[in-house]
C-alpha cells in the first residue's frame, strides 16, 4: 500500500498537497500541464523532500531514503538507457548495480529481454534500437529491478499511438499482473480510460484521491470536466 500522508510539496511559490492511499494496480496520473504530475512522482521517487507530511510504503516512512534505496523504480521521458552500455548491461543494472553479472544473472537478463520481446538483442547498444525497442529494454530493467512501485513519467510519450498501446499492454501483462503498484503520468485521457484501474487527477494544487476509472469518467467532477474541456 502506497500512502501520501498529509503530504505537502513546495517548489518556489508552487504548492501541491496529497492525502490518500493507493492499492496495487495501474493508476493513471492526469491533469493540466504544470499541474504538478511530475512533482508528485519526484516526491515518491525521492528526488524532492516533502515540505511536510510523508510518503509511506506498507506503513514504512520513506522520508530521507535515497532514491536507490526506496521500493520504487522509475522511467523518465527520455534518457532511460545509458548509450555506452549494451541492452543487456542496461537491463542488468536493475539486477546488479555494480554490473558484475554472474552466469545466473545473465540468464535472468536474457529471460527478461525475452519477455519484453527483445530476445537476441542483448549485445546491441541502445542507438542500434528503434524507439519502441528502447522502451522495451528499459521495461526489462524495471522488471529485473523487481520493486513493488513503478513510476512512469510520460515514459512512452515519444512513441506513436500503436507502439504506445503495445507498451501499455506490456506494462499491464508483466508489471501490473505481477501485483505491482504502477503510477503512470499521461497526457492522453484515452490511455487512462483504456488501461488504468484508477485515476489520480492533479489540478489546482491538489493530487486528488485515486478513483475508479470507470466511475470517474462516467460522472466527471468539475475539475476533470475543466481539464477534459467537456
Amino acid at each position: 500500500m502506497l500512502t501520501c500522508d498529509d503530504l505537502t510539496l513546495r517548489q518556489g511559490a508552487f504548492t501541491l498537497r496529497a492525502d490518500w492511499s493507493l492499492s496495487p494496480g495501474l493508476t493513471a496520473v492526469i491533469g493540466p500541464s504544470g499541474g504538478g504530475k511530475s512533482t508528485l512522482l519526484s516526491a515518491i521517487a525521492g528526488f524532492l523532500d516533502p515540505a511536510s507530511g510523508c510518503v509511506l510504503w506498507d506503513g514504512r516512512n520513506l522520508s530521507g531514503a535515497a532514491p536507490g534505496n526506496r521500493p520504487v523504480t522509475m522511467l523518465f521521458q527520455d534518457n532511460n538507457l545509458f548509450p555506452h552500455l549494451t541492452v543487456a548491461q542496461n537491463a542488468g543494472l536493475g539486477l546488479v548495480p555494480s554490473l558484475r553479472l554472474t552466469k545466473d544473472h545473465s540468464d535472468r537478463v536474457a529471460v527478461a529481454l525475452d519477455r519484453v520481446g527483445l530476445a537476441g538483442l542483448g549485445d546491441r547498444k541502445p542507438n542500434a534500437l528503434s524507439g519502441g525497442q528502447q522502451s522495451r529494454a528499459a521495461l526489462a530493467r524495471v522488471l529485473l529491478a523487481d520493486r513493488p512501485v513503478v513510476l512512469l513519467d510520460e515514459a512512452f510519450a515519444a512513441l506513436g499511438p500503436a507502439l504506445r498501446a503495445q507498451m501499455l499492454e506490456l506494462v499491464q501483462s508483466i508489471l501490473v499482473a505481477a501485483g505491482r503498484t504502477v503510477l503512470m503520468v499521461t497526457h492522453d485521457p484515452a490511455d487512462a480510460q483504456n488501461v488504468a484501474d484508477n485515476v489520480i487527477l492533479v489540478s489546482d494544487g491538489y493530487a486528488h484521491p485515486p478513483q475508479d476509472t470507470g466511475a470517474l469518467f462516467a460522472d466527471p467532477s468539475p475539475e476533470l470536466r475543466r481539464y477534459l474541456g467537456t
Binding site: F47, A66, F76, F82, P83, L93
Partner: protein
C-alpha cells in the same frame, strides 16, 4: 527543478585537490616571501611594468577575441573537407614553446621574412613588426586559436531547432541567437586570454623592441636573477594574483564562466551563410599555418642527424607529459565533479602564477629536504599539471553538468552512486571530454620550459630544455630539428588522447 538527489558527488577529494593546487601556486610565493632578506617595495619602473602588462594583455585579449568571432562563426556554419584537421591545427600555436613560435612568426613577418620579401618584389618598403604591434601579433597568434575554440563551442551549443525557428520567423539570427550567446561566452574567453598574456615574458620582450615593453614577469626575472631581491619578486608575483583576481571578478560579474566542450563535430546546416566565411577561414589558416610550415621546413634538414641526447630528452619529456597528464586530469575531474566556487577559483589561479616564482619557491621548499636534481622531473611533472589544469577544467566542467542533467536521476533510481556511479555512468559518458582534456594537458606539458631549468642538470634534461641549450651552443640547425620534434610530439600526444576519447564512444 530543484532536485535533492544529485548523484556522484566528490566533495572531500575536491577540497584536497583544491588545497593542493593552492599550495602549489600560492605556496611557492609565500616561500619566496619568507626567504626574502632585504624587504624592498616596488620600484618606479615596476609600476610602469604593471601598466604595460595590463595594457598589452587587454589589447591582446580584445584583438584575439575580435578576430576569433568571425572565424568561429564561419566554422560553426560551414562543413567542408579538412574542417576537422583545421580545428585540430588550431590547437598547434598554443602548444608551441615561445622561442619556436617567435622564430616561426619572424620567418613570415620579420625583416627577412616571406611577407617583406613579397612586399619587396612589388616595391613596397619593408614593414617592422617590432614594438607593440609585434607583441600583439604574437599574442594573437598564440591565443586566437584558443579564442576560436571557446567561441565555436558557444555556437555549437545553440540547438539547431532555434536556428530553424529563427529562420521561419525571419528573425535576425545575430540579434536573437548569436549575440546573446556571445554575451555569455565572451567574458570568460577574454578572461582566460587576458590571464595568459598577463604572465607573458619572452614574447613581450623579444618582439617588444625595448624597455618600454617591460612586463611584470620580466621584472620578477630581474628581481630574482640579478638583484636576488626575493621580497620584490614576491610582491610582483602577488600583484599578478591581484590583477588576476580583479579580472576574474569583473568577468564573473558580467557572466558565469562558460566552458569549451570536447565535441566539435556538430555542424548546424545553415542558410544564412556568407561568402565572407571563406575569406575568414582562408586568412586564419594562412596566418596560423605559414609560421608552422616554416618551423617544419627549418627542422627537416637536420632531423636525422640529431644527437642521441635529444632523443633521450624527448623520452623524458614524454614521461613527464604522461605523468602530468594523469595528475592534471585526475585533479580536474575531482574538482569538476564538485563544481561550484572552488572550481572557478582553481580554474584561474594557476594562469596567474609566475613560472619563475613558482620554480624558485618550490626550490626553496624542496632544497632543505632533498636534492633539487633528484626531484627535477617529478616537480616539473606537477608544475606542468598545475599549468594545464585550468584548460582541463574548462573542458570537463560543462561536460559533467551535461551528464548530470541527463542521467543523474536515472543513476539515482538505480543506486548508481559514489564510486560505482563514477565507473558506470560518469567516466564512460565523459570519455570524449576526458580524452580532449588529456590531449591538451599532454601537449601543454610536453612543450613547457617552465621550472625545469632551475632544477635540472643534463641527466634530467627535457626536450624544450635540450632545444634551448642547443641554441645556446650555436647549434641552430639541430635546435630547429629538436623544435620540429617537439611540435610533432605535442601534436601527436594531443591527437592520440583526443582520438582515444572518441574510439568506440557512442552518441
Amino acid at each position: 527543478m530543484a532536485q535533492r538527489a544529485v548523484a556522484i558527488k566528490a566533495a572531500g577529494p575536491a577540497w584536497v585537490a583544491a588545497a593542493l593546487v593552492l599550495a602549489l601556486t600560492v605556496g611557492p610565493l609565500v616561500a619566496v616571501a619568507f626567504r626574502a632578506q632585504v624587504g624592498s617595495g616596488l620600484a618606479a619602473g615596476d609600476w610602469a611594468a604593471i601598466r604595460f602588462t595590463i595594457w598589452q594583455a587587454v589589447v591582446s585579449a580584445l584583438a584575439s577575441v575580435a578576430l576569433a568571432i568571425p572565424v568561429a562563426r564561419a566554422l560553426a556554419r560551414r562543413r567542408f573537407r579538412g574542417r576537422a584537421a583545421l580545428v585540430m591545427l588550431l590547437g598547434a600555436p598554443f602548444l608551441l614553446p615561445v622561442i619556436v613560435a617567435v622564430l616561426g612568426l619572424l620567418a613570415v613577418f620579420g625583416r627577412g621574412g616571406i611577407l617583406n620579401a613579397m612586399l619587396g618584389t612589388i616595391g613596397i618598403d619593408p614593414i617592422s613588426i617590432y614594438g607593440a604591434a609585434g607583441v600583439i601579433l604574437a599574442h594573437v597568434f598564440f591565443n586566437l586559436p584558443l579564442a576560436v575554440r571557446l567561441i565555436l563551442q558557444g555556437w555549437l551549443d545553440i540547438p539547431a531547432e532555434r536556428f530553424r525557428l529563427a529562420a521561419q520567423l525571419n528573425a535576425p539570427v545575430w540579434r536573437v541567437l548569436e549575440w546573446p550567446m556571445l554575451v555569455r561566452v565572451l567574458p570568460g574567453t577574454l578572461l582566460v586570454i587576458f590571464l595568459i598574456c598577463l604572465t607573458s615574458f619572452a614574447v613581450a620582450l623579444t618582439l617588444g623592441g625595448g624597455p618600454r615593453a617591460t612586463t611584470v614577469e620580466l621584472a620578477i626575472y630581474q628581481a630574482i636573477r640579478f638583484d636576488f631581491d626575493l621580497g620584490r619578486a614576491a610582491l610582483l608575483a602577488a600583484s599578478q594574483f591581484v590583477l588576476c583576481a580583479v579580472a576574474a571578478v569583473v568577468a564573473w560579474r558580467i557572466t558565469p564562466v562558460d566552458g569549451l566542450g570536447g565535441g566539435l563535430d556538430r555542424v548546424v546546416a545553415r542558410w544564412d551563410q556568407s561568402p565572407l566565411d571563406w575569406l575568414w577561414l582562408g586568412a586564419v589558416t594562412l596566418f596560423l599555418v605559414t609560421p608552422l610550415a616554416m618551423i617544419v621546413l627549418r627542422g627537416v634538414p637536420g632531423f636525422l642527424d640529431m644527437p642521441a641526447s635529444v632523443w633521450t630528452a624527448a623520452g623524458r619529456s614524454i614521461a613527464v607529459a604522461v605523468g602530468s597528464t594523469v595528475i592534471s586530469v585526475s585533479l580536474a575531474l575531482t574538482v569538476a565533479l564538485r563544481g561550484g566556487a572552488i572550481a572557478q577559483v582553481i580554474g584561474v589561479t594557476p594562469l596567474a602564477s609566475s613560472a619563475l616564482v613558482m620554480g624558485t619557491g618550490l626550490f626553496i621548499i624542496v632544497y632543505p629536504v632533498v636534492s633539487p636534481t633528484v626531484v627535477a622531473l617529478p616537480v616539473t611533472m606537477v608544475v606542468n599539471a598545475m599549468l594545464a589544469l585550468p584548460f582541463a577544467l574548462r573542458v570537463l566542467i560543462p561536460a559533467v553538468q551535461d551528464v548530470r542533467q541527463n542521467y543523474a536521476r536515472l543513476a539515482a533510481t538505480l543506486n548508481l552512486t559514489g564510486w560505482r556511479g563514477l565507473r558506470i555512468v560518469m567516466l564512460p559518458r565523459l570519455r570524449r571530454p576526458l580524452g580532449f582534456a588529456a590531449g591538451l594537458s599532454a601537449a601543454l606539458s610536453m612543450g613547457d620550459l617552465g621550472v625545469i631549468a632551475l632544477f635540472a642538470t643534463d641527466a634530467q634534461e627535457t626536450l624544450p630544455l635540450a632545444m634551448y641549450r642547443l641554441m645556446g651552443a650555436y647549434r641552430m640547425e639541430t635546435a630547429a630539428s629538436a623544435a620540429l620534434l617537439l611540435v610533432a610530439l605535442s601534436l601527436l600526444a594531443f591527437w592520440i588522447c583526443d582520438k582515444g576519447g572518441r574510439v568506440d564512444a557512442d552518441l
